[in-house]
Symmetry: C3
Subunit: 460 residues, 3 copies
Amino acid sequence: MAWNTDLRWRLPLTCLLLQVALVVLFGVFVRYNPDADAHWVEDKQHANSSSDLDNEFYYRYPSFQDVHVMIFVGFGFLMTFLQRYGYSSVGFNFLLAAFGIQWALLMQGWFHSYQDGYILVGVENLINADFCVGSVCVAFGAILGKVSPIQLLVMTLFQVTLFSVNEFILLSLLEVKDAGGSMTIHTFGAYFGLTVTWILYRPNLYQSKERQSPVYHSDLFAMIGTLFLWMYWPSFNSAVSNHGDAQHRAAINTYCSLAACVLTAVALSSALHKKGKLDMVHIQNATLAGGVAVGTAAEMMLMPYGSLIVGFICGIVSTLGFVYLTPFLESKLRIQDTCGIHNLHGIPGIIGGIVGAVTAACASSEVYGQQGLAHAFDFEQHNINWSSSMQGSFQAAGIFVSLAMALVGGIIVGIILKLPIWGQPADENCFDDAIYWEVPEEHTIYVSHPEDPNLKPSEP
Amino acid sequence: MAWNTDLRWRLPLTCLLLQVALVVLFGVFVRYNPDADAHWVEDKQHANSSSDLDNEFYYRYPSFQDVHVMIFVGFGFLMTFLQRYGYSSVGFNFLLAAFGIQWALLMQGWFHSYQDGYILVGVENLINADFCVGSVCVAFGAILGKVSPIQLLVMTLFQVTLFSVNEFILLSLLEVKDAGGSMTIHTFGAYFGLTVTWILYRPNLYQSKERQSPVYHSDLFAMIGTLFLWMYWPSFNSAVSNHGDAQHRAAINTYCSLAACVLTAVALSSALHKKGKLDMVHIQNATLAGGVAVGTAAEMMLMPYGSLIVGFICGIVSTLGFVYLTPFLESKLRIQDTCGIHNLHGIPGIIGGIVGAVTAACASSEVYGQQGLAHAFDFEQHNINWSSSMQGSFQAAGIFVSLAMALVGGIIVGIILKLPIWGQPADENCFDDAIYWEVPEEHTIYVSHPEDPNLKPSEP
Amino acid sequence: MAWNTDLRWRLPLTCLLLQVALVVLFGVFVRYNPDADAHWVEDKQHANSSSDLDNEFYYRYPSFQDVHVMIFVGFGFLMTFLQRYGYSSVGFNFLLAAFGIQWALLMQGWFHSYQDGYILVGVENLINADFCVGSVCVAFGAILGKVSPIQLLVMTLFQVTLFSVNEFILLSLLEVKDAGGSMTIHTFGAYFGLTVTWILYRPNLYQSKERQSPVYHSDLFAMIGTLFLWMYWPSFNSAVSNHGDAQHRAAINTYCSLAACVLTAVALSSALHKKGKLDMVHIQNATLAGGVAVGTAAEMMLMPYGSLIVGFICGIVSTLGFVYLTPFLESKLRIQDTCGIHNLHGIPGIIGGIVGAVTAACASSEVYGQQGLAHAFDFEQHNINWSSSMQGSFQAAGIFVSLAMALVGGIIVGIILKLPIWGQPADENCFDDAIYWEVPEEHTIYVSHPEDPNLKPSEP
């Protein structure tokens, strides 16, 4: 198929239209919340807080910045492993995330921060907007290299909307706890992306096979993404937890789970290679599965050894997925999953949901203290209608709701993206920056001689 | 012209002399401020603060670290886009910033933290020193590739001095608000750098034309710089704002402006290419203009939609500047602006100054509250001499003062740097690391065979 | 010697065994400390603290994340300078650190956080575990390229154990202050690593000489490591200091020392090259020596000028070490120090210990205040048995204890690592990722033509 990939008017118009709409909607709806508003002394007295330090900003801002790095550098560079798709990986991720966070501020705002006709935003909204976009970055991994930037903007528009609805159902209707987003971000994002790539199946993708592999330095760029995701994941899972012990505990649990995950991912990577060699794909991805899988339970009393066990299992499952499941999905189910998000976000996301449900179901006042239990699960202390087993059931229901939303939404959005109007690349031009980017000509490589600063071209 | 580029004695002597002078001046002048001094209990009681948490450190340190990353990794890597100038971009930026922050601690200290014969430093001084050096990094962008490290040290010495004088005039005499430095950092830095490069005009620069373009991986290195600047800019604009709501608001406004800026920069980049392709130069630079342009107003009640509008405009203006204005400046005005700082810092800096003046002129007690207004603009609450329109006028005056300081200072410093004694490169050797660095010989590239770990050289 | 480098069963079994043991030990011993435990209201009342903000988390978490980045990105990328060892540098560092932090939580926990049969962990334990692993990363630098990942895991197991014993002797028995670890981390880590590489001496290492040099882009990757270490070092040295002024002061001192160190490292690098050119090795390493050398004294009243002097000296000494000492150690003492850790961590670590001893010996109540002195050095205020000269002597003793532990421990661990069972590479295969990693074939480099997105292979 010879689609027209010249985006000259379509991409600018899409961007400008979206941005104008955002400006108008922000003008109508978005204001600062009291912690960010200048009515400082008066409001402070109302809120009965004595110090500037009680401003939510100081509880959450460092975590926000870490999450911000994960979305833009973490996801962006993680996907630069392809030899000739680095501009697009980093650049399109940048574009879709910049659009997505604005749209998410509105969508999540209407559901969670709407008051007297206004969305009142503060640092927690910024974190949640980044989280929401994180699920789009996950889905991007499945379709990486096979879509145009317009398709990505369209997908972001719909996915952020669906994310917000799903999140509202889980957090507000089912009253599920999911601070690190195993269900809302990873399970939803992964199965949404897999469904979209299934709809967009390209039977002749082998035509761009030679560009689907990395080169040496592109793998090192990808490790920048991996490491910033890995290092800052404790901030991700603790960023919107309750102040104090919950944030503290979420960081510890995530740290433990991720550490264990590295060892089992390395073990499996070596064990599954005929000469025992390690595979960069596993190191770049499977080492992160432990962070995904404690997303729900990290703030609960999972215990450090519980976190280690979760990480242990996920390193193994995720690496096995890369070796056996991804090829199977592609050849049998026609699901072309460029980055293997099923192994990094899909299965670990579901595991995370289950771990969260089990941990919640086991919560008791012996472990949490009487007040601690009410505080941790957000119910009135003497509410006799709350029980941990009920919480566990609702948590489990959250997994299924997320999966259903992802599948239905993914089918609809996939069909929209299949329309031949978005400037998508032909099969033989996939995974190539040169379709959408000015790329430098690199025929002539100039070589410096230490003794002679004048350069002469080497033979091409 | 055949200058002598052997720096063997000149560079070491310059570095050692400057550093010895700094040691002596620090010995005479610099001490810890009370929050960093060990006289802890006694002073704490004097200061009447009950908790260690009230230490300024906890309000500012996370922002400081983000700013620090912007100066060293952000600016350093942003300039690695040139194919053979990565060592110098990162390395010289490292050198000038390491010198500049020490000299800035002194210069800014004398103006703002001088007490009883001593400069009392704390974390806010560290941030301000980084800010000051930020303006030097901006100016470096204009002359990148065409100067020696000695010239950079000399320029830093003078520019930090002028920066501090200009900052004193604006902040202390005109009582202007400029927390994110649209005027003091960006406008001043950009027009200073442009004036210097105008004085240093090289008519035969085309002789090193082939090295003025990027290679594939150098563009990815540059994206590391772009993204760390983009992500941490909310910290930059909020780092020295008042505690509480002002810091909080500055971060939100900057986040919004930057997000909008990405979409319009992408739109224009595509619209201005004959096949609609994106240009890495715009993605690396124009996406940041929104951060520059809310530098003054971010801590004010600019409102989220106001921030979006500022970002919207700057993404467009900055990209247009790269496409039309930079070539014009070079061919008609003989201003060779290597990184296009006029589009990233110059125009957006002036826009930022104007936005700040207008926002200040519109400040009212309805929006800020009575006490909030006095707090936000630092005047006694019942001072009837203060009016928002007056504040707006002084803000506007700050732009012109900064421009005048930049132009006059830039001419003087440019003339000094033109002296043929600093080891500057000849026109045909510009943009080449090999002049000032040991660079690895890369004739023989060793290629690994997955099946055979023994290496054999490929043909050169 | 033709060792078997196929790790297929050995590496997986090692990883899985270690991780299972860690899970069991965590299950038996590790629990949350009160600040991270959900028994929130009850415990909060016991602790008599009124606000969530008093949670240790908010004092230490931002510093923890900075330290975390230093260990994984800082050390990992610093070692990517070799042309064909980037996967191993980043990947093996990732593996050993992920194992090491878990084992360190246990070892350090038994010594310092053991209570009623449990190790109670919180954010400070996470920082200390990262610190402990930092010393392993240091030692890794000496043997980089010459060992298998199994050897690294074995070394980590022993080194973390010895580190914890040494740290216990210094901090708990000698009551030494060493917040930034000049002695416990750098001196111990460096001389341990140097002893191990001395035992593992490879007389025929010249056979892989061609891979011991960098290529252009590998040096830029290494600068990512350098800069993140440099920028976050103020957090490293202040992360576990006392709340308030001590943390604040440690950050300021480290900032100053590092800045001065850059200028003198550059000066010496240029002065020692026959044409005055800079050497990337010095910029990547010697610029960091100032951070190492204020590790002990940064939290003391070293004064900003004192910090500058320390940085000044270390930039010189470290660069001289790279030029003269490293070749001497290799040719005369048969110590093959791949990254030159002796110059970055060894000598500066000892200097740091001495500076700390002298600064402590000079501590007086005039400078610290009466209560400040007791607080800074952790003794009862009216304890007449404490004197600053005694503190200084104990500090000095700490250097010798660390050296002795490093040498004895290094010999034992070196002998263990010399056993021919760990899959170490042959001399001609050192510094080559292809032994332990799947590496992409790079015979055919595809070149994009801006005008023609279809790719054609260039000649190999």
